[in-house]
């Protein structure tokens, strides 16, 4: 059960059966679904690449270009951890794929580990890279807040993929998939969806901003945010931050960039005192120009930043203020 079927293709890779569980919100597929699909196609190496969709998302199946088959499970559009898991489990048990890809997201966390136990497959968290290496898969995981990369292998697995690890475009391109309706059992109903709660309307929608000045734990305390706020105003930029700042209540949730915050795409992203944990990087690494200021020269943020300075952010803010005025 733990060994892959060895079918060799012309290129010398072993064909594989890869299944992607898509994610959607408010009637749209999340980018992670396309990212996983694009990579799944490559990993399948000529084998089968299928995608699971729920509810009315079957009507959007044509967007899932890279999939051979789309398995429509039906059910509600509202995500329900137990229901979505039960339905997926059935299908996966009968499909018996070599690799299951699930997003490393809020929804993915309710699905992947549970599937792994129920299917008796290893679970690989925080994947930023996956390769098909013949008789098994190779995974690269980001661990310890991004301070370590761990490479592992398994012939079969459930992998949780970090957003932004692969190209979304590749997932959208390709032929048209066949849609199969599958009857699925949505479980015992011990979890009931009640309602979707929208966030409070924010003054500023930072996902639309051109220029962002973001603060992280390096700011030290709430009052110093004023200094950064002034800088943002002078640069005609909007203010953003990482999760700890919002947890501490120093800035509203609408400013949070990252996995549990917002995904932003500005022309210029200035990161002050942000270390660059994967969860934050997810939210901003697609910015056109990233400038990072952090006193720790080993901070992971410098890996995604285009420009950097290992200086104290207050010194920089101050000197910038002086130069600009």
């Amino acid at each position: 059960m733990h060994e892959k079927k060895q079918i060799h293709t012309e290129k010398g890779l072993t064909m594989a059966n890869v299944l992607v569980i898509t994610e959607h919100m408010k009637g749209e597929f999340q980018d992670i679904s396309f990212e996983m699909l694009g990579q799944a196609r490559k990993l399948a190496a000529g084998g089968s690449c299928s995608a699971i969709v729920y509810g009315s998302m079957k009507d959007h199946s044509s967007e899932l270009g890279a999939a051979d088959r789309v398995l429509s499970l039906g059910g509600s559009d509202d995500f329900n951890p137990e229901a979505y898991f039960s339905a997926a489990l059935q299908v996966i048990q009968s499909e018996s794929p070599d690799l299951v890809l699930v997003g490393s997201t809020s929804m993915g966390m309710d699905l992947a580990p549970v599937l792994g136990v129920s299917l008796d497959l290893p679970v690989i968290s925080y994947c930023s890279g996956i390769e098909n290496s013949g008789d098994s898969f190779e995974f690269k995981s980001q661990l310890y807040g991004g301070k370590m990369e761990v490479n592992s292998t398994a012939p079969k697995a459930v992998a949780m993929v970090l957003a932004g690890s692969f190209s979304a475009d590749e997932g959208k391109s390709g032929g048209s998939a066949s849609v199969e309706e599958v009857s699925a059992d949505f479980g015992a109903g011990r979890v009931k969806f009640k309602e979707l709660i929208e966030p409070e309307a924010a003054d500023v929608d930072i996902t639309q901003s051109d220029i962002l000045v973001a603060v992280g734990r390096g700011i030290g305390n709430k009052d110093d945010i004023e200094v950064v706020q002034e800088l943002a105003e002078n640069l005609k930029a909007d203010l953003a931050c990482s999760r700890p700042i919002v947890d501490a209540g120093w800035l509203p949730k609408s400013c949070q960039v990252g996995k549990s915050g917002l995904k932003v795409n500005p022309k210029v992203y200035i990161a002050l005192g942000i270390s660059g944990a994967p969860e934050h990087l997810e939210g901003m690494k697609s910015s056109s120009t990233i400038i990072a200021i952090n006193t720790d020269k080993n901070a992971p943020i410098f890996d995604v930043a285009h420009y950097g300075m290992t200086e104290d952010l207050f010194d920089i803010c101050e000197e910038l203020e002086n130069s600009l005025s």
Partner: protein
């Protein structure tokens, strides 16, 4: 309802982390360990539920390990009614840990709360895996819990402040993202007081049989992928900003 809070010590990320001689694991000889940040939130939420009269008992459970006693006494100082330490068993990786907890927790508790994730759970999130082993439902990334008699209501967070509310029948497992308030401080004198007056229960387990594993081939700090161009002065920065049309 009776709540079990599952705690785990993890390497303190303030430390400089190094790989050991095998090249596959963290060198833990000199680094300090601390309680998983999210487990702290789980404990805080559990104690808050008790203080709101929605829970009758909170038990803190942890595997034996580095500074675990202190973490358990601290949990009691924060309001947990009892502390249980699982001894005699080795568990490497979040999946093995989940198996041990599954055995220790059994059917005694209505609600099992733990941190949504930890910095070292490469083998999957412990809470959901535990729920699967216990065959009870699980909701992760929870930011709010309201108690009830046989079921509870939780808020699950997605992104950007968007969330769903769910009614969950107990027994159930919750992966906590954030408690209703910042985890409270446990004064050292109170912890010391508890160390003198209370004791930690010990459960002896045999350890887990072969669990399904992926094989680690290497561990290393991330390779710098080209990296940032370091600027030498604020003047250079101003130039750059002007170039990009910002200043």
């Amino acid at each position: 309802m009776k709540i079990a809070v599952l705690l785990k010590q993890v390497p303190d990320l303030a430390e400089e982390l190094e790989v050991d001689d095998s090249g596959k694991a963290l060198d833990t000889e000199y680094i300090k360990f601390r309680l998983n940040e999210y487990d702290e939130h789980a404990l805080e939420e559990a104690v808050s539920l008790k203080e709101a009269g929605q829970a009758s008992e909170v038990a803190a459970i942890a595997l034996d390990g580095e500074e675990v006693d202190k973490a358990l006494f601290t949990a009691m100082a924060k309001g947990a009614d009892k502390a249980i330490k699982i001894i005699g068993a080795e568990a490497e990786g979040s999946r093995a840990v989940a198996s041990l907890f599954a055995e220790a927790v059994g059917t005694e508790y209505d609600l099992i709360m733990t941190g949504v994730q930890s910095v070292d759970d490469r083998e999957g999130m412990m809470g959901p895996m535990l729920s699967s082993m216990l065959k009870v439902p699980c909701v992760s990334v929870v930011t709010r819990v309201e108690g009830g008699d046989s079921s509870i209501t939780v808020h699950k967070e997605y992104f950007g402040g968007l969330m769903s509310a769910f009614d969950v029948q107990m027994p159930a497992v919750l992966g906590i993202q954030a408690a209703r308030q910042t985890p409270r401080y446990a004064p050292v004198s109170k912890v010391r007081q508890i160390q003198e007056s209370a004791s930690i229960e010990e459960i002896s387990l045999n350890g887990v049989s072969d669990t399904v594993k992926s094989e680690v081939t290497s561990m290393a700090p991330p390779t710098k992928t080209g990296g940032a161009k370091m600027l030498g002065s604020v003047d250079e920065l101003v130039e750059l900003l002007k170039e990009k049309g910002v200043a």
